[in-house]
Amino acid sequence: MELTGAEILTESLKREGVDLVFGYPGGVVIPLYDVLQRTPEIRHVLVRHEQGATHMADGYARATGKPGVVIASSGPGATNTVTGIATAYMDSIPMVVFTGQVPVHLIGNDAFQESDTVGITRPITKHNFLIKETEDVAQVIAEAFFIATTGRPGPVLIDLPKDVQVGTAKFEYPERPQIRGYKPNYDGHPGQIKKAAEMITAAKKPVLYVGGGAIISGAAEEIQQLAVKAAAPVTTTLMGLGAFPESHELSMKMLGMHGTWFANTAVMECDLLVNIGARFDDRVTGNLDEFSQNSKKIHIDIDPSSMNKNVIVDLPIVGDVKHVLKQLIPLVERADTEDWLKRINNWKQEHPLTYDSTDSVHEEGLNGRDDQPVETPKKLPLRAQYVLEKVGEATKGEAYVVTDVGQHQMWAAQWYGFNRPRTMITSGGLGTMGFGLPAGIGVQMAYPDADVVVITGDGSIQMNIQEMATAMACKLPLKIILLNNGFLGMVRQWQDLFYAKRYSAVDLKETNPDFVKLAEAFGAVGIRVFRDEDVEDALSEAMAINDRPVLMDFVIAEEDNVYPMIPAGAASHEMIEE
């Protein structure tokens, strides 16, 4: 019996184990939606903007490791997915995006709602396809899932003309597709691994520098084994947060532009830097000439093109982090790092992550708002760091933390305390404002009973606020922590520090909506918090709500900066502490 292209698509999704898709309909995908409404095995979440769908699929994928699936229409529907696809691409997130396309014979005619979707998305996908024959649908979908989820994962897009959805063909789902030009390699070279083990055993001042690749490959356990066996301290990138417990005594927390003083200093002083699934990003290395000059460097990464891209390493090992570590750990012996660990512990005492609650950030009233109780004008406004510590306590450090982009993201990275992989969900590579809320929805859809906390800013939340309606429709008990400083804070911080406080286009407070009323307008719960002493109560009130989103508007210090900070392109000894 022959099936239509649309039926082949849904059958193929079932074979891939997909039971949830995020999408938005339009003219050329009506045939597909017609099949979806009679396919109860696949739940379709109707979003409010296609960008939202891509971030939801992305959040779902980051939290579960399974590919997220998106459906969008042609033309504007497809172009709206671009930011979300690019976000996933930069962070190597598996995702399969189906876009509708005008019928094959109209392609290239500037037909209504036509766009060259494969052309537009070529540089931001791992691979993409335009299907021209219904008989190719199953094969292409199988290849797309295979490519998206293997090797270094990434988004794959399939452009599906309307007539291909309507046409019919025999359905046969290929087993594991064979693609001649694509053979990801998982195992590291044994000779290289042996050398790595010798280098680690011989090091006096090693540092393990762990990135998102460790999380993607599911290597948290192996990282811990290696760290303990080699007695080597560990720092993670933003993307690597959770790959090693920050509560562990060998943890130096995050490194990089807003990393801890001790992590950055240790990287500067170490004699062996073991890069595990990270990519020597410029937010980590700063000035390349001065980056970790005296160390030998080992780099473990599944993608050969990551090797020697920014930093020349002494020993590259191409392979999947988990596979390589499994081969490596038995060969490593405990290194003599006692003095090194002592030094690092001293640094931790001398230069802890801190915020000074007596530091006068802003003294005239509370953010200049006159609708607020200003009993003690000198009283300090709420600090984001404090709120985040309290969020950590209220969720016992076990929540999925989904962030937007800006100061609040960095504070979340610094202050929440990440102990489990896949619990820090953040747009690292592209740095996409507007990611938080929809990605949070994707995570909560994957884990309905988990605590999912969205940490956002007053700028970022407005970039995809429409997805509140999606969260309501799905009755998701998301906890949205809005750290409201009335500014595009991170940009303001740069203008403050590097442009002599010439604030330009960063002030939102006069025109921000009333976020509590906004939440209520969606049918969600809104809570506003001004003072330290109200934070805990407000959080426990919010945690008790389980049938709808809660937006907590924390009115925080306006002009607080994220410290420590290594200015862009500077070296770690140029770090600014508070």
Binding site: V118, R122, K126, H127, I147, R180, G181, S305, M307, N308
Partner: protein, 186 residues
């Protein structure tokens, strides 16, 4: 900065050339020449790219090319022994008075006259770029009307005799020919 000859075997699928070209342009790498044609196996294409950059850039280019799903094989021929050729069609102004001279020049370069009109001659020349540049240099004074060059095509040499100069500098092919031509002329 060194010139590199990169030879690719790719799936002959639509969009593959755009993918490869986009990979260069998206990273700010320049392509000096690119040529594409069917490969030995049906369904495959051979692409030869001439590019330049420092070693780190070229290493990056090659790795990025390897990442493209439709790319089956990538070889940087530069440090291997390889044969390279280019074909050029050169339409040059000609008249009664100088036609003979132009024909002579083409003969020296082992080039062929492939079209003739009262006011032009079209010459087909093959060789490496230096040779093509040389014949174009000789013909320029007559007035070049139109020129079409294929860009470099190249394949690795398989037979490597013990005393073959390896890796062979690409120039030496033309050097050898030039010697022959000079000998001929003498």
């Amino acid at each position: 900065m060194r010139r590199h000859t990169i030879s690719l075997l790719v799936e002959n699928r639509f969009g593959v050339l755009a993918r490869i070209a986009g990979l260069f342009s998206g990273r700010g790498f320049n392509i000096d020449s690119i040529s594409v044609g069917e490969g030995a196996e049906p369904g495959t294409s051979r692409i030869t790219i001439l590019t330049q950059g420092d070693e780190m850039i070229v290493e990056q280019i090659i790795k990025q090319l390897n990442r493209v799903i439709d790319v089956l094989r990538v070889v940087d021929l530069t440090d291997h022994s390889f044969i390279n050729r280019e074909l050029a069609l050169i339409k040059v102004n000609a008249n009664q008075a100088n036609r003979q001279e132009i024909v002579q020049i083409s003969e020296i370069f082992r080039a062929k006259i492939v079209d003739i009109s009262p006011k032009t001659l079209t010459i087909e020349a093959t060789g490496n770029e230096d040779k093509i540049d040389a014949i174009m240099g000789m013909l320029r004074p007559f007035g070049l009307r139109e020129v079409a060059r294929t860009g470099r095509v190249a394949l690795a040499r398989d037979f490597k005799s013990k005393d073959a100069p390896s890796p062979e500098a690409p120039e030496s092919v033309w050097e050898k020919e030039r010697k022959e031509i000079t000998a001929d002329l003498a």
